[in-house]
Amino acid sequence: MSEPLLIDLSKKGRKAYCFPPLDLPRGFDQALPLLPANLIRQKSARLPEVAELDVVRHFTRLSNQVHGVDNGMYPLGSCTMKYNPKLSEHIAGMREFTQIHPLQDISTSQGCLSVMYNLLEDLSSITGMSWGTLQPCAGAHGEYTGLKMIRSYFLKKGEAQRTKVLIPISAHGTNPASAAVNGFDVVPIASDEKGMVDLADLASKLDDTTAALMLTNPNTLGLFEKEILQISTMVHNSGALLYYDGANLNAIMGMATPGDMGFDVIHLNLHKTFSTPHGGGGPGSGPVMCNDTLRPFLPKPDIELTDSGYVYRWDDEDSIGKVSLFWGNFLVLLRAYVYILRMGSEGIRAAARHAVLNANYVASRLASTFPIPYGKRCMHEFVLSCENLKEQYGVTAQDVAKALIDEGYHPPTMYFPSLVSEALMIEPTESESLETLDTFVDTLLAIAERAKTDSESLKTAPHTTVVGRLDEVRAVKQPDLRY
């Protein structure tokens, strides 16, 4: 059943919440009369005036119209929708953390600081980097921060002319956007026939105006860039730096480090690799880790462990400065810390190994029905093509995706990367069991079968949801963005 807007249940005089009465002496018991008239708001805002039960039912019902990892498999490529442990949620709800103010005297927040310091240490170990920052609030924010550090590094070095950032055409859209936001010019790098960075193209574009090459490794096709050490040498020889987009770190953590691959700076997505929940699109967290070359440029404040406990360090001259209001999304950091404590070194490694195992298993079972243009051997994810279904039955990748919804699965990422036509990008993650994977594969195979006999029902899927496919054009042409 569709749920009305809460504002439509609104009624004057109804209240879900009351504040304690103001118990101040006369003269202090009113606000407005004391304010200069020209500072006073004139127009009321229209907010729902409803009862507590209205609020409870509204959001409870809305939650029943959302699919999360807790509801079923979520094989959304490049998003690493792994299980979000209940323990982490419990701990993130502890009053000993939620009721700490970011600016209270540092002697009274040593618990929070210890979480952040130890998390930085663990992330340094896992990535093979020297140190980092926890301030960035999401992956793209991490990219912004890392690139800003690179820019500052070259300015300090007197190489202001390095204004180009090289980015493979298969990269996530945030990579070029983050480069642009930092004032860089974006230069695309081609992929070779194997889906890897085209080394010749790279060589031709590396020069003394190049600031960095941004890479995701494994890349968005789920392939490990085998020539990474050569790439690293080429980049560094040209005087540029190598940036690692950590979106796919889940494939290799504990097995190899970006540090050993020669990366100078890396952002992580704690909400991908380190199991913090996505929350419907955030809050995420995008720590940036770097080697000693870039360390002086990290945002401030840094955290240091001294004899008298943890302290902030504000005096880094080369620091790019702050990138968020306080210290980052602390409750997200806390969850990631809990995850690392639970997993430990063996668990971190096992996560990568089983993520890769799961992806290869699903790929190997699907490959004979759905072509996988760049090969069914992959890392943690792979990209298949629905090209055949489209040619033969007019069934597109989108139709397959929507049909999965009716079977209780969140669809894979669609139409990305663009190297593959009618692409579906599947990342099962290590959380899914063999049985779940088998059922998922069977469902996809059954959909492929249905394409032959009943393509119409696929083209109109989903049928079980509260709404069917929406008129996206109308949404753009007649924007209805608020009540």
Partner: protein
């Protein structure tokens, strides 16, 4: 071997490896050369069980001290209805991704639509996005928007009375780019816009101000929008959104952009994060606003539904020509604000804002009577006010003695600005949550120290 959160049994692994056609898990990593594969496990500790982790965290948690917080500076201890945590922690809200698949995400999309609507209502502007990282990043996104909106513009005027950390984030934003942050000075605690017109050269794209400002003072923007608009410049106001229940809204000042942080609307202190930035703009800037936007439309049967829209602005389509690089935002925090506002209604918001006003004035009035403390600037303030101490030693003693009684008395401005001139300034925040008893405790202790 069983690893946490990994369901595979030995049998499973064997079966799967066979199906793949490899002999071992290691073989799956044969794309990585020997010199890349770690010979040892990464040097972090071994895994722990739930119980061990909980104990460890309990002992870490004990190193945090909770006091009665009269602390603000962008993070306030307001009352939060029990509904907020109960409903925002419903598992499908928590464990969903960005609602790219609209049919499977209607609940989330509708909630974001409601969030956008409420932000529009509160700011008075036309279009709001689905949230930004925080109030400081909302400011740098506003700066980007301004510069992108005016040809050849490079400069953004920014009031010196912005939150010190917001200023720092803006300065980072400009660093290494062609963008320039030009500060507009303060006078007696509020931004001095008396010579605004003279600052507006063609490179200038607009002005960002904040009210209540870094001192808690409310600023007067009479005529400001007119001067800016005349020169083709945009006007952005950053607010604590709760204050907008009382003070003039951005729309009422004829601002083009409203920004801020919804921490004061349903988010706990949480050591400063997650909070939730917001941005609302006039209709004319619709296609320039950063971040995600949800819109209503219909399906083939004409049923109303919600979807992410106007994605042509975004990075995954427009790549380096996107209006911003913002992708993930603070959706769950925005949901908390939506539930909070749904519970309070406008009446509740006005009540909370009024009480914050009244209680902060009560405390300020009585503290101002004490020797050695001055309430600087006789200006309207809301919820937070600046005290100046006569000397550093008494200030330290004051903070220490109150802390001994469990009262966190305020934030030293110098801890934000690192400037000597701010060392004697203490910012004291008093929300509607502080009970009369707590106010009297504060006053009694203050009188004891400052007698």
């Amino acid at each position: 071997m069983v690893y946490p959160y990994i369901p595979h049994t030995d049998e499973d692994r064997k079966h799967m490896l066979k199906a793949i056609g490899v002999d071992s898990l290691d073989q799956l990593f044969d794309g990585l050369s020997e010199d890349l594969l770690l010979s040892d496990s990464v040097p972090i500790s071994h895994g722990r069980t739930e119980d061990e982790v909980q104990r460890m965290i309990d002992s870490i948690a004990q190193r945090n001290v909770r006091g009665i917080p009269f602390l603000g500076c962008g993070c306030y201890d307001h009352i939060i209805p029990a509904t907020v945590k109960a409903l925002s922690s419903l598992p499908s809200f928590v464990t969903a991704y960005t609602p790219y698949q609209a049919e499977m995400s209607q609940g989330l999309l509708q909630a974001i639509y409601e969030f956008q609507s409420m932000i529009c209502e509160i700011t008075g502007l036309d279009v709001a996005n689905a949230s930004l990282y925080d109030g400081a990043n909302a400011a740098s996104e506003a700066a980007s928007l301004m510069i992108g909106a005016k040809r050849k513009a490079t400069t953004v005027l920014v009031s010196e009375t912005l939150h010190p950390f917001t200023l720092q984030v803006l300065q980072t934003w400009a660093k290494g780019t062609e963008h320039v942050i030009r500060l507009v000075g303060e006078k007696e605690g509020v931004v001095d816009l008396s010579s605004l017109a003279s600052l507006l050269d063609p490179s200038c794209s607009g002005l960002i101000v904040q009210s209540p400002n870094r001192y808690g003072l409310l600023e007067d923007y009479t005529d400001v929008a007119g001067i800016l608009h005349e020169q083709g410049c945009l006007f952005a106001i950053s607010n604590d959104p709760l204050s907008l229940a009382i003070q003039k809204s951005p729309a009422e000042w004829d601002a083009d952009i409203a920004i801020g942080d919804t921490q004061s609307l349903g988010l706990s202190l949480a050591f400063g994060g997650p909070s939730c930035g917001y941005m609302a703009v006039k209709e004319s800037l619709l296609r320039k606003i950063p971040g995600r936007i949800v819109g209503a439309t219909v399906d083939e049967q004409g049923r109303r539904g919600y979807t992410l829209t106007l994605q042509a602005r975004e990075q995954h389509i427009k790549r380096e020509r996107a209006t911003s690089n913002v992708c993930s935002n603070q959706a769950l925090a925005a949901l908390m604000t939506t539930i909070h506002l749904s519970s309070l209604g406008w009446g509740g918001m006005v009540d909370a804002a009024n009480q914050s006003y009244a209680k902060s004035h009560y405390l300020a009035y009585h503290l101002a009577q004490l020797p050695g403390i001055t309430l600087i600037w006789d200006k309207p303030f809301w919820c937070e006010f600046p005290l100046v101490f006569s000397d550093a030693k008494r200030m330290r003693k004051f903070l220490q003695e109150l802390r001994n009684e469990g009262i966190f008395a305020g934030v030293r401005l110098s801890s934000l600005t690192r400037q000597v001139k701010d060392e004697l300034v203490l910012l004291v925040a008093v929300t509607e949550k502080r009970s009369r008893e707590e106010l009297e405790m504060y006053l009694a202790a203050a009188r004891r120290v400052m007698k």
